[in-house]
């Protein structure tokens, strides 16, 4: 029998869960835990410079490697600083375990120093949370936290640990598999085979099919199953922002991202399809456009592990609740077995012809400029120079959409971006987590000057742990996406979207111990990128001075349907009428 203190039990629990990194920041309520961390070498602690950075870094790690990210912060401000990062992970279903210190039990509720109701504050943005009331419950609570975070639809789980619990002792025994089960939590995995058969029948009878995939395919590690399914059927496939990379972005059956800044062909195909196969996607408002005009002719099959995602925004004809990978495996098996229904190849050919006509518009075409750097050109160059093989994180705004449009991700877990919550400040700390997960990989953070400064303090963390991230700052001196909306919908009244008094990013990078570069000529873009990418052991902050007036196209305005896209001014007005 082993008698351990709470803090030791906590560290032992993390070891039992094979945790390799903790992203954290010490403080009063977690000092016992930090003392135990000091005494061991198995788990590496990464000291961030702000607790938001810890949460984003753990999130980036989890997205890249597919294991839960772990955060350790103190009570009070440690927790509140983390909330944005927890909510970011929650919206994108990222598995994380966040250990938060709490004031000693007898002080809870007394407005003690650095006390906050952590369970109450995080409740709406976690999959579940716990307050540990007894040291004897610590091990089982930790095990349950990992179990809940990683099963079913993944998500962040907070474990709030009062300081006195970490000092008390009890017998330590790592709970067995069957002890972790909860009577109130039974995540479904296999899809209902009857529903799957029904769905396959509808799918095979489609004349104008469309496959719409989301982040669920990546979370379920189902990319191979998806590729098999799509290629076997020969149907067109589109993806949400969160799903990019699950199906190769450079494949001929991939028609690009859909939604507000999706491709013309993807959105037109959504509007005109007769059977929509939604796989691990949740019909987000940035994807559907106006719901009244969404896929007017389509019958819909929806595969999702979370029953609440089904028929939440859009009524569905055939719902299948289950793990995307397991359901696709069943569907692939039915396809292999064959049956009496075979797809109508001539209808499919006609459908592909229409798709090719829409694609011929070349909606992502933009006008090159010899004097001003076009942001799209920077992303395209990054794609070419990294051969599409980098891990790319982003912040939120125009630059995020340009990466989604111009960087053709062909592997899952390479595109690390805050889709649901849309958190500016995510990119740099997330890149740290990715780099730790894959120390040898090329990790680029594409950002903008507004987003980058939101978590700029993490440049110190990058130096301390030698994380050679390449920061591509598309600096247009505006909050670009805000400016774009103000141009389109507020008659060009650029209210507070201009970034005045910007730092000198080159000297800023240098003051943090990194390499800074400023690039303001289009002719220098590729050589600068090549030089920076070649510095494998240094952080390089590349400050690209880009066209201030560039907008993200195509675009579906609020209240419009997929067939009502605005193309860039470079394009003739879309010939919807003939094509529709």
């Amino acid at each position: 029998m082993e008698i351990l203190r709470g803090a030791e039990i906590l560290i032992r629990s993390l070891k039992a869960e094979n945790v390799e990194y903790i992203f954290g920041y010490p403080g009063g309520a977690v000092l016992h835990i930090y003392d135990e961390l000091f005494k061991q070498d198995d788990i590496r602690h990464i000291l961030v410079r702000h607790e938001q950075g810890a949460a984003h870094a753990a999130d980036g790690y989890a997205r890249a490697i597919g294991k839960p990210g772990v955060v350790l912060v103190t009570s009070g401000p440690g927790v509140t600083n983390c909330v944005t990062g927890i909510a970011t992970a929650y919206m994108d279903s990222i598995p994380m375990v966040i250990i938060t210190g709490q004031v000693p039990k007898k002080l809870i509720g007394n407005d003690a120093f650095q006390e906050v109701d952590s369970v109450g504050i995080t409740r709406p943005c976690v999959k579940h949370n716990f307050l540990v009331n007894d040291v004897r419950e610590l091990a089982i609570t930790m095990r349950r936290a990992f179990y809940i975070a990683t099963t079913g639809r993944p998500g962040p789980v907070v474990v709030d640990v009062p300081k006195d619990i970490t000092a008390e002792s009890c017998e330590f025994r790592w709970p067995a598999d069957d002890e972790v089960k909860l009577r109130s939590y039974k995540p479904s995995t296999k899809g209902h085979i009857g529903q799957i058969r029904k769905a396959m029948k509808m799918i095979l009878q489609a004349h104008r099919p469309m496959i719409y995939t989301g982040g669920g395919v990546i979370l379920s590690n189902a990319a191979q199953q998806l590729i098999h399914f799509v290629r076997h059927l020969g149907y067109p496939v589109t993806s949400t922002l969160m799903g990019l990379g699950a199906y190769p972005g450079n494949d001929s059956q991939f028609v690009g991202m859909l939604g507000m800044h999706g491709t013309y062909e993807a959105n037109m195909a959504m509007h005109h399809c007769d059977v929509l196969i939604a796989i691990g996607a949740r019909f987000d408002d940035r994807v559907t456009g106006e719901l009244d005009r969404f896929c007017p002719d389509a019958r819909i099959v929806h595969i999702d592990i979370d029953p609440t995602s089904i028929a939440k925004n859009v009524p569905v004809d055939i719902p299948i609740v289950g793990d995307v990978g397991a359901v696709l495996a069943d569907m692939n098996r039915l396809l292999e077995e064959g049956g009496d229904i075979t797809p109508d190849r001539s209808a499919l050919d006609a459908w592909w012809n229409r798709l090719r006509e829409w694609a011929a518009i070349d909606c992502l075409r933009y006008k090159h400029d010899s004097k001003v750097i076009k942001p799209q050109y920077v992303v395209e160059s990054l794609y070419e120079l990294t051969k599409g093989d980098a891990y790319v994180t982003s912040d939120v705004g125009q630059h995020q959409m340009w990466v989604a449009q111009y960087y053709k991700f062909d592997k899952p877990r390479r595109w690390i971006s805050s889709g649901g919550l849309g958190t500016m400040g995510f990119g740099l700390p997330a890149a740290m987590g990715v780099q730790l997960a894959f120390p040898e990989a090329m990790v680029a953070c594409v950002t903008g000057e507004a987003s980058l400064v939101m978590c700029i303090q993490e440049l110190s963390t990058c130096l301390q742990y030698g994380l050679p991230i390449k920061i591509i700052n598309l600096n247009n001196r505006y909050m670009g996406m805000v400016r774009q909306w103000q141009e389109f919908f507020y008659a060009g009244r650029y209210s507070h979207s201009y970034m005045d008094a910007l730092p000198d990013f080159v000297r800023l990078a240098e003051s943090f111990g990194h390499v800074g570069m400023q690039i303001d000529k289009p002719g220098d873009v590729r050589s600068a990128l090549t030089e920076a990418l070649g510095m494998r052991d240094r952080v390089v902050l590349m400050d690209f001075i880009t066209d201030q007036t560039e907008n993200v196209y195509p675009m579906i305005a609020a209240g419009k349907g997929h067939h009502e896209m605005h193309l860039s001014p470079e394009h003739a007005p879309p010939p919807d009428r003939e094509l529709a």
């Binding site: 109450g120 409740r123 709406p124 109130s184 029953p307 609440t308 009524p315």
Partner: protein, 162 residues
Amino acid sequence: MRQILSLLLENHTGSLSRVAGLFSARAFNIESLTVAATEDPTISRMTLVTSGSPEVLEQIFKQLNKLIDVIKVVQLSNGPHVERELLMLKLRAESSAQRAELKNFVDIFRGRIVDVTDTTYVVELTGTTAKLDAFVEATDTHNIIEAVRTGVSGIARGDKGM
């Protein structure tokens, strides 16, 4: 559309706030909510009355099931069931004529007078929400000193438990 839901949930601190928080976060209606421990002290049973379109009611059902602390949810009002609510009213009862009339009135509704002072009665009444509403409506509001209602509790008819 009105719906009565029966929930079994873990009898933990915080379980109630997870349910209540879900309703406020997703802008679902709560008309009433009652909760107490069951014969198994680790489990609480809640009866919750909500309303919404069929699509919203389906979401409410699924979202409640998704909460980790919720063990089971039954859409009670979709099948045969019994529902009851308790009302207690403190009423002015000053003159003997008024007291007699009130006593008579309470008997008609099969209520009980459970506290008496020189000038007041406390009336206890159980029944469906509609019956309690009818009683309150029939009472001269001028005579109501205070009123308290428990919200609906419900149970399914038949031999099966939840």
